[in-house]
């Protein structure tokens, strides 16, 4: 076995080399920051994406943007136990999620659903297993009243700096764009092998059984190319989704990630260097049995947050609390002002154009927005 591994490492195949070439030197890297302290779990981002990208037959179960309650099993169900990614630069075998693990994609008898006549049975989906869906365990969370806790976690493709999906593809159908680091798939070259789905540790790649290709979030590439922020970011009522270039040192993402160090990748131990970052959730103080505040014990166990965001999460939360205290004491905080996003367009870096102003705007999301 050792000999075989040695041979493998010393004799990379031509296709493997081609895959590595699919990660060029980047001019820029697009990135997002989700401020989890502002996410209200409204699913507007999920629906904005669904409406724009995954409405065709074969995409029923596809939700390129999902929002799940944490702690929870996520989507696809128990995705964090499905492997993929890399440990110490060695690929980790991954599980291909099943249709049942994705769940959802239900159809209904809408006549009965909307106008009655079917009793309780009329509320059930007319097709599809009715024991799991993409947001099945919403608001369940963990802990016991009055110290129960939960928060919402929006997820899209992380457009990783180390895109193990692209490297796993024997057809060379995926690559990172040199100009902005978006991981794209040439569907004409996709052969439906689904090694990308196996290799992705975030399980953010979906199978289209009608077109026989895998598909994933493309960072709203056609919008980006016209200066419009992705739909999930622009439609977010909570103003919590920052879009921009990670390498723009004047931009909010660079500051949140590198300068203030309050935005962290999800599961950094998966080894893919995600380019979606999260401001971890603070939570209200716990209550003691007598009803007084317990200011010493975090409501959300730090061990749980470390499991999601890595060992740096405690420091990030400490810096957030420090800034909050600073403002309470009367000082100002650029970090908090940035996170509050007083000016809506400040969330979107160079991608502030209103899609309704584009030529052919009828095909865009048509949203009317005000800064």
């Amino acid at each position: 076995m050792a000999g075989r591994e040695k041979q493998m490492s010393e004799s990379p195949s031509p296709v493997s080399a081609a895959s590595r070439r699919s990660v060029p030197k980047l001019a820029h890297q697009l990135a997002m920051v989700f401020d989890l302290n502002k996410c209200i779990g409204c699913q507007t981002c999920s629906v904005a994406c669904k409406v724009l990208w995954t409405r065709e037959e074969g995409m029923e179960h596809q939700w390129w943007c999902t929002v799940n309650t944490q702690p929870g099993r996520g989507t696809p169900r128990d995705w964090e136990q499905m492997g993929g990614g890399e440990r110490g630069s060695i690929p980790v075998p991954g599980h291909l999620p099943t249709r049942e693990e994705f769940g959802g994609g239900w159809d209904f008898d809408f006549q009965k659903l909307f106008y009655g006549g079917g009793g309780r049975e009329g509320l059930r989906p007319s097709s599809g297993a009715d024991d799991w869906g993409p947001n099945w365990d919403e608001d369940q969370g963990a802990g016991d009243y009055p110290n129960s806790y939960y928060f919402y976690l929006p997820r899209i493709c992380n457009h990783c700096t180390n895109p193990v999906c692209a490297e796993a593809c024997p057809a060379g159908a995926m690559h990172k764009r040199a100009e902005d680091g978006i991981v794209v798939r040439e569907e004409g070259r996709c052969r439906g092998f689904r090694f990308c789905m196996e290799a992705c540790p975030y399980k953010k790649i979906y199978w289209n059984h009608v077109n026989q290709v895998s598909q994933h979030c493309i960072f709203c590439l056609p919008r980006i190319e016209q200066g419009v922020a992705p739909a999930c970011a622009r439609q977010c009522p909570g103003r919590l989704v920052f879009t921009g270039f990670l390498d723009d040192v004047e931009g909010p993402i660079h500051k949140l990630v590198y300068e203030w160090k309050v935005a962290l990748p999800l599961h950094p131990e998966y080894g893919t260097s995600p380019n979606v970052f999260y401001v971890p959730p603070l939570a209200p103080h716990r209550l003691n049995p007598d009803g007084s505040l317990d200011t010493q014990t975090p409501r959300i166990p730090i061990e749980y947050l470390e499991r999601l965001f890595g060992p740096l999460v405690g420091g990030a939360l400490g810096r957030l609390r420090g800034e909050i205290e600073k403002v309470r004491a009367g000082a100002s905080s650029e970090m908090l002002d940035t996170l509050i996003a007083y000016k809506w367009s400040s969330l979107f870096g160079p991608f502030t154009k209103d899609p309704a102003t584009l030529a052919g705007a009828a095909a865009a999301d048509g949203a009317t927005e005000e800064a």
Binding site: M1, R4, S13, V15, S16, P93, G128, E167, A168, P170
Partner: protein, 269 residues
């Protein structure tokens, strides 16, 4: 002869000996790829395409059972030959290449070459109209892969079978894939996962019959080839190979079993 059912035709093919049994005798002995273990038989060296008249394009036609079957041993393509680092690592401890043997019969009628390939797969076969709880085909799920088989021909040079050809040595692949409907394509491959449809419209067709865990797929193509497809001539000789993917084991791309050497394909005059 009957106590060694499948060896007769294969031995004849492997040793180059002349047929001694009548078609009916051979039919009685079967030539089915059942129960034989991998490695139990030597690699077949020759398949004879008998000259036949009349209708042969039904894989269940009894006349096929009267033609000699050659059992072809298949072997998993070595892990080191898999095309990406992920596959080489993730599948290193996972068995694949589960179809270790298939049976092949060949015939021609002066116009078309017919190849009947039969094998046993653990994949459950789907009844017409069967749907999963989502109203979709039962094998439409992201973790489901179809059974598939390929008949291979070197387009030129000494193309390596296990890597599905090479940059300078293409392979013409007749690939049949189970599904609703089944599909058959004539492809050109210059490496694993590089296959593309042949440039010109191929007149390749296939008919399949499945029962239980057993597949029968009958390929048929005019003898004349094209720029990328080999030509065959009555009385002539070509080379042929085989590969199979077990869908139930999520086999696809280079995760397959293939024969390790080309087999002569001799057409009766």
């Amino acid at each position: 002869m009957s106590e060694q059912p499948t060896a007769t035709a294969e031995q004849r093919a492997s040793t180059g000996g002349q047929p001694t049994a009548t078609g009916e005798q051979r039919a009685a002995t079967g030539g089915q790829p059942t129960g034989r273990r991998a490695g139990a038989s030597p690699q077949a060296k020759r398949i004879c395409a008998a000259r036949v008249e009349g209708e042969v394009e039904d894989p269940r036609a009894k006349r096929w059972q009267r033609l000699p079957a050659v059992n072809v041993a298949l072997h998993p393509v070595p892990i080191a030959l898999q095309p990406t680092r992920y596959i080489r690592t993730a599948w290193a401890q996972r068995p694949y290449g589960m179809v270790r043997e298939l049976s092949a019969r060949a015939a021609h009628d002066g116009q078309r070459l017919h190849l009947l390939v039969e094998w046993v797969s653990p994949t459950r076969q789907i009844a017409a109209g069967e749907r999963n709880p989502y109203g979709e085909h039962p094998f439409s799920g992201p973790d489901a892969f179809p059974d598939a088989v390929a008949v291979l021909f070197p387009s030129g040079g000494d193309a390596p079978i296990e890597t599905m050809g090479a940059d300078d040595a293409a392979i013409n692949m007749w690939r049949w894939t189970a599904g609703v409907p089944d599909t058959v394509q004539s492809l050109i491959a210059r490496g694993i996962a590089t296959e593309q449809p042949v440039g010109e419209r191929s007149e390749l067709r296939a008919r399949s019959a499945g029962a239980g865990e057993r597949w029968s797929v009958l390929f048929s193509r005019p003898l004349g080839g094209g720029d990328e497809e080999p030509s065959f001539h009555p009385g002539g000789t070509g080379r042929v190979g085989f590969a199979a993917w077990c869908g139930a084991n999520q086999e696809r791309a280079g995760l397959m079993a293939a024969c390790t050497a080309w087999i002569d394909l001799e057409l009766d005059a």
